[in-house]
Amino acid sequence: MLKNKSFTLITGRTIKQGMASVSGKKNEGYKKETAYVEISKEILKKYNLEEDEKIILESDSGQVEVRCKGAELSDKIVFMPYGKTANKLIGTDTGGTGMPNSKSKVVKIKRKEEKAN
Amino acid sequence: MLKLKNALIYDPKNNKAGVKEDIWIENEKIVAEPSERKIKELKEKDILEEIDLENKIVMAGGVDIHSHIAGPKVNSGRVLRPEDHRRDNVPRKGKLRSGVGSTVPSSYVTGYRYSLMGYTTVMEAAGPPMKAKHIHEEFNDLPFIDKGFLVLSGNNYFVLKFISENNFTALKNYLAWLIDVTGAFALKVVNPGGVEAWKEGKRMRGIHNKGTSFNLSPSEILLALAKANDELGIPHAIHVHTNDLGTAGNFKTTNETLQLLKDYRVHVTHIQFSSYGKTENDKVKFITATDQVAAEINRQPKLTVDIGQLVFGEATTMTADGILEYNLHKLSGNKWVNTDVEMETGSGIVPMNYKKKNLVNDIQWATGMELFLKIEDPWKVFLTTDHPNAGPFTAYPWIIKLLMDSNYRNDYISGMHKNFDDYTDLSNLTREYDLSEIAVISRSGPAKALGLENKGHLGVGADADITVYDNLEKRDIAEVFAKPKYVFKSGRMIVKDGELITELQSGKTLMTKPDYDPQIAEDIREEFQKYYSISIDNYGVTDNYYKKVEVVPCNFKG
């Protein structure tokens, strides 16, 4: 079951996110380039998720609705460009270090509408 | 105009030792006594300020020829050691900015503590040319004192290249260009050849072996640099940190270096670290070799040295000599920073705690003391702790006490390791420095060696950087030198009764501008653009970094 599977959320830079961020943070481009999640193609297939399908990512800090993209990734992780959307999932606990869990947050994937596996 | 009257003047350059005289100050300078008419006029206009210094000792402001106070290495040391700062806090007061102290103080606090000790000129001992802008940025936040920096030039690609090509003209032009574009004061040579060797993963010993891809020996580098420096007329000698520094038996390398360069001006810095003998059948290995080194110094007329006196307690060692810091790290197990700077130099940092119970530390301490006492002419030997390497500069008053009071010194020795006398002969030395000699080693000598004609004395025309101490009668010597009664910088009082006046004042940056053929920048352009990682056009320090500059003329003639 997809809802029982946990992933480590890796946030990071992409060149398009970089280009969009210097082209105006208020532009649609920036929003677009920071509001998707990359998921292993095998996982997409296994759980019958479509490329570009809108899904819900959920952590213990919040949830976001994002498009999913198939990528060459291990099935333990999902990747999001860093930005406002990803940061809704990242908690504020820094474990006393000042650094939040920006690349080590546990997330789950939920379908927008429940459909049969 | 300001008149300091009835002072007991100790001004060795002008042969005054406890002479009761007045000092007249106008426009940041010491001036001759005005005519009676002028005095009358000043009094009438009420613009003659007088301070009575009856029974007070007056010297020129202190001059430190070698200290690490600004720039990338010092700053990295600050970052490295939050534990060094945590218990030594300096709050904001009036217009005085806050900061932290201990062995690597923040820049404001560095300025405060030198000023509070009556020091008004300090030479930053080692700057990597590529990061010179950083040094000047910090200089602008280093209040009160005048300062300059010595630019690292003993392992630079173009230096090694021109020497190996026997292109002496290019070498001279390059060095002068380097000083010019980095806003430096003089040349620093650290473990010549050895730093390049460290980057190549090699070890060099002595000054005669060739070891790097440039196929040069340290002696070839040293000779070329000393000759170029003299010919460029730079006011200060080449400032040498010897090869093999810090290792047992290194006095041989040191003496060979001194003999090699006997025809040129040389200043050998923190020579304490370069004056060790070696005992083979012993775990300790170290022994002082001060007889041999002092004899060589006493023999050479042009040579000057500073000591780098060890101080027990916390220290932060930092030097461009990367391999030395690696060795210190291996020895101590303490945290270690190393930064190789492309095409130019290296650096390292290791915190240390020198302990009186540690025999090697005791021997190092004694080595410094013995050199102070065995070098006959005080004009050849200067007071430093190689701050913060052998200890913080704030220990100078204590070192002065050790030099002036042999009873105190002997008492202090009695607390040393029980085998202390087997490795040192400090206990047999009875010499005591007098106030004039202290004035030489702490201001007049260093000023002269740096070629700063307006510093280190109280004659007419000198900068009005003046320190007033209480009389030593019935007072603890260290206390007196730690807390001057007054300090004047550029004619303005900055310290009164041991406290800073709460107005910030900036000192000057001291530079030299030796002549060179500007074509040199074009000659090196192609290789520079290829092998540096920044453009040659962005390399130099631009004028916006210079707030208050004094260019010291290059008029040394050999």
């Binding site: 969009a20 908690g91 000042g98 690349k103 | 945590r86 900015r97 270690w336 920073v337």
Partner: protein
Amino acid sequence: MTNVKEHKNITCTFCGALCDNIEVEVENNQIKKLRNVCAISRKKYEHALEDRTVPMINGQKSDYQSVITKAAEILKNSKNPLIYGLSSTTAEGQKNAVKLAELSGANIDSTSSVCHGPGTMAKQLVGMVTATLGEIKNRSDLMLFWGANPVEAHPNHSKRYSILAEGLFKKNRSEREIIAFDVRKTPTAKMADHYVELEPGKDFELLMALRLLINGKELNSEKDEIAGVKITEIKEIAEKLKNAKYGSIFYGMGLTMTGAKYMNTWAAMSLIRDLNSYGRFVMMPMRGHGNVAGSEITMAWQTGYPFAVNFSRAYPRYNPGEYTAVDLLANKEVDAAFIIASDPAANLPHQAAAFLKEIPTIVLDPHWNLTTDLADVIIPSAIKGITATGTVYRMDHVPLHLRSFLEDQWPDDAEAVSRIGELIENA
């Protein structure tokens, strides 16, 4: 008459690689041509004069003097303000910000705390063996990329300083071996000779295993792999590391943001330190923002500490985890904020950034961003390296002076901050 002016050796301030070879042609205060720029840099220059902020107070347009005065009033009247950002302003701006923090008894923190600050904390435990980028280009025969993806974050890095650069002793790609360690095969990993895929959050374990092997000890794992890497492969890597003449490791957020956080970097720094018993080995944090290194440098010489500094006692105190922006905001301990050249609403965890909405917040930035949306006071500013001069420090602490080549109607960050400071100092 057209007035075309050419500017060479301009420094791009987007990322910590600070390429200083940009060529710009300017006509009538407009950029006409750009050379040597990367894809991000090009966008940055093209967009520079667009989307500019204007002085605003509580959503109403205002004038420059009024926003400065209002900012001073907010900081002066707050008990425990936060000054945050700094990594995209000049050293001059940073210096003035530290002074302002002192004058207003503030906490001051840079984006370093959510970036490479953990590396600096690790350095305070163990030290760090590093070099300038040119040294690595000139000498390094083995380059490691660990949790770093410069192809997307520092696009010209590989060409100028690392994989593809021409060096003095190492002339080209074929004279270097490249290993990439990551949890996903990034474009940088694709350029490497070897890609080592790690289990997420297990960098520490692999680094410690390598340290053990480097120190000549046995690796007795109950499993046949560590961090998802086979023991045999780990042993091969250890041999490669030991045989490097001048190895280098570029590390990114993949180390600082995961698992053991700064202890990851501690393990890496310890490993690199130990490797210097064989050949030479150095490491380099892949600093993200153009002058984030400068924020640590300027703060250190003024306060002794690199970030996470508090001035409530009128002298600097340091403690990441306490005086860092995320913690201060999440714990709701600050009662005003001054954001300098940064966009915490986009880049900090949402729940921390959200507190900025609750307290008086001042933003100093040349462009609109997500944080200007929730600011009470907006101060416009000139753009560093384009319309404003100043100093920036590269990821390897090499300082560069920025020149301006376009005109601007607003003063720069340094001046804005200094004017606020003066109002507080002379109040």
